[in-house]
């Protein structure tokens, strides 16, 4: 097994040093950029408030946070580590249903059941992963697809407490919760925070979801980033490109794959719960094959195997349908056309293509190197360090 080199963090600059040292050829964080980004995201809602469609924009951002988590986790196992699992959407549903049912039937608070959903999803992933991850690539597709179908079938035709006659869960309580173990213990929706009047009632609950989503998404993204750009992360990427090499370096592919699979499932389930409590509903329609393909498109469109690509793709495919809403019937047609065109002219993903264009305009050859997704040679070189 690879030695985990994670010295303890002490001071702030120490932390920054660790981040910089472990950051790979793609994604060296410039502290200024990161902090600026965080600040912008924190203040965004107030800015959007001024615009007429501000609330709608926040709604979109909430969706992007949730689905972004699912997509970047899927990209982690598929695009980066080469585990071609088609069960991502089903795992999302596991998280959503678990949390929803726990709240509906047992009255627990969503703040807690959210995490229960995440844990349950990770657990299910491990159970699936144990037999499946040992198999060759295409069979992982097969069996996870079979799992997807199975789960969809179950929530459609299964016992009443999960299928509700095929309609799925409805009226799933949102945050803030109503009760905990039966006792009435409401989270305050109007309170004072350091002299400011915070009001999260009614429409303003959107803000709650926004910040919660921001935190969860940030957590997930940060965790993925740490995994990818640590020595272990390099091994994960080596796994995708050459399992034989990885094995010869003492890496046990199976354990790593299982870990990644469970990790990815955890956050996917978490996102599932998060969005289920936001929507207030979850149903088998969610597991239509078409939706699965839509998620796939988000990854590939943004940039398969890259870090920010899938998130970009998610944002694009979430916002685009809304922007094009005025086209009505022709909306989907245009989206399909856009997808095809993008694939034809930017085969490696939109984000890498845009980055390449941008940097070529500003910096020339050095930029073209930086814009590539991680190639096997780099992973192997860095493993040697």
């Amino acid at each position: 097994m690879i030695q985990e080199a994670q010295p303890s963090l002490r001071t702030g600059s120490d932390i920054l040093n660790k981040l910089q040292w472990s950051a790979g050829p793609w994604g060296k964080p410039r502290p200024a950029a990161v902090i600026a980004g965080i600040v912008i995201m924190l203040l965004l809602p107030w800015g959007l408030d001024a615009i007429s469609f501000g609330a709608f924009a926040i709604h979109l951002l909430i969706l992007i946070f949730g689905w972004g988590m699912v997509v970047e986790c899927w990209n982690l196992i598929m695009g980066v580590s080469g585990i071609y699992s088609f069960g991502q959407l089903a795992l999302y549903a596991v998280g959503g249903f678990t949390s929803g049912i726990l709240v509906k039937e047992f009255g627990f608070t969503p703040w807690v059941t959210m995490w229960a959903g995440a844990v349950m999803t990770a657990f299910v992933a491990v159970i699936i992963g144990l037999p499946v991850l040992r198999l060759k690539g295409a069979y992982v597709v097969l069996l996870t697809l079979a799992f997807h179908e199975l789960f969809r079938n179950w929530i459609l035709n299964g016992p009443r407490w999960i299928s509700y006659g095929g309609y799925g869960l409805r009226e799933v309580p949102r945050l803030p919760p109503a009760s905990w173990f039966g006792a009435e213990k409401t989270l305050p929706v109007q309170f004072m925070l350091g002299g400011f009047n915070i009001d999260l009632s009614g429409d303003k609950v959107l803000l709650l979801y926004y910040y919660l989503g921001l935190v969860l998404f940030g957590l997930c993204t940060f965790a993925i980033w740490r995994i990818l750009y640590s020595p272990i992360g390099m091994s994960f990427r080596a796994l995708r490109d050459s399992e034989a090499y990885a094995v010869s370096r003492g890496i046990d592919p199976f354990r790593f794959k299982l870990f990644l699979f469970a990790f990815s499932a955890f956050f996917t389930g978490l996102a599932g719960a998060y969005l289920t409590h936001y929507d207030g509903t979850i149903s088998p329609v969610l597991l239509d094959f078409g939706r699965l393909i839509n998620l796939l498109a988000m990854i590939a469109l943004g940039g398969w195997g890259t870090f920010w690509g899938p998130i970009f793709g998610t944002a694009l495919l979430t916002v685009l349908p809304e922007v094009l809403r005025s086209l009505e019937g022709y909306r989907n047609l245009s989206i399909g056309l856009a997808l095809a065109l993008i694939a034809m002219f930017a085969p490696q993903g939109l984000l890498p293509a845009l980055v390449r264009l941008f940097r070529r305009a500003t910096k020339g050859r050095r930029a073209r190197q930086a814009a590539r997704p991680v190639q096997p040679k780099e992973a192997i070189e860095s493993l040697k360090q």
Partner: protein, 296 residues
């Protein structure tokens, strides 16, 4: 256990197998030669079905059912060819091919689906059957139409096999699938061979669409489930292996049918799942030996 049930299960199983075979074989051919996962396959099924619907309901001229169906199948083939010619050709072999081909087919699929929605609307449509009526064997009711589906399905699969093994173009398709560079050195034009592959695969998917939409009603989202099933069958049969796919189609079809009859509809899918896991544990290389799969 009635002999009745046995026949019923076998009959349904062969029906499923024929349909799965029609759908899956297209995917297999495309994967084998192009190394592309054709996610537009479901919409090719749809194209065949809707074309048939349109032709059948043509007010201007009244076409015999058989002609309408035949034209629809060819039409689906043309659609597949167009996808290849207009979109996939452009990115053949370029870097990022694996995922770009995925997205291109997704894009094409969405376009076709929305076109169907725009032209025909979201309501389910009914399709006439080619042959009305049924007959009895004992207490079992057999539709002529379903019998015909089996017949056409089996005949198509046999015709395809013969084409692949006995004709110059069929052998060329196999050659390209087995070794593209060597095929080039034989003077085989790879690009146009792919056109033939896409046309054939699309036509077969279209045929499945035409046949099945008389059984299940037709709507714009009707293509996804057949494609999901086809994917399962294709992979199980050994990606790229025509023989394996046909076997897999019937094995899975029969298994599903028997499970439905003897264990109840709810157990069909879980049973299949379990069977596949066990099979893959015993034979990790798949039904006919998959060989090293480096990527999807």
């Amino acid at each position: 256990m009635h002999v009745q049930d046995l026949f019923q299960a076998a009959y349904s199983g062969i029906l499923y197998g024929s349909v799965y075979g029609l759908m899956a074989i297209g995917l297999t051919l495309i994967w084998g030669s192009l190394r592309m996962l054709n996610l537009a396959h479901g919409s090719l099924y749809l194209s065949g079905a809707y074309l048939a619907f349109a032709l059948v309901n043509l007010k201007v001229v009244h076409l015999p059912l058989l002609v309408s169906f035949g034209l629809a199948v060819v039409g689906a083939g043309v659609v597949g060819f167009l996808i290849q010619f207009l979109m996939v050709d452009r990115i053949l072999g370029k870097p990022g091919w694996d995922t770009a081909s995925l997205i291109v087919t997704v894009g094409a699929s969405i376009m076709l689906q929305s076109a169907a929605l725009l032209i025909f609307g979201a309501q389910r449509k009914a399709m006439p059957v080619l042959l009305e009526g049924r007959f009895r064997i004992g207490a079992m009711l057999i539709d002529y139409h379903r019998l015909m589906i089996i017949g056409l399905g089996v005949v198509s699969l046999i015709a395809l096999s013969l084409f692949l093994r006995r004709t110059r173009y069929g052998l060329a398709i196999q050659a390209v699938s087995q070794h593209m560079d060597a095929a080039r050195l034989m003077g085989i034009p790879v690009r146009s061979t792919f056109w033939i592959v896409m046309f054939l695969s699309a036509a077969l998917a279209g045929l499945a669409g035409v046949l099945l939409s008389s059984v299940f009603e037709l709507s714009p989202t009707a293509g996804y489930n057949p494609m999901a099933r086809a994917l399962v069958v294709t992979i199980f049969g050994g990606l790229g292996s025509v023989k394996g796919t046909i076997w897999a189609a019937f094995i899975i079809g029969l298994l599903e049918s028997f499970l439905q009859v003897y264990a109840g509809a709810g157990w069909a899918l879980p049973g299949l799942f379990g069977f596949m896991i066990v099979m893959l544990i015993i034979r990790p290389n798949g039904l006919f030996g998959l060989g090293e799969m480096q990527r999807l």
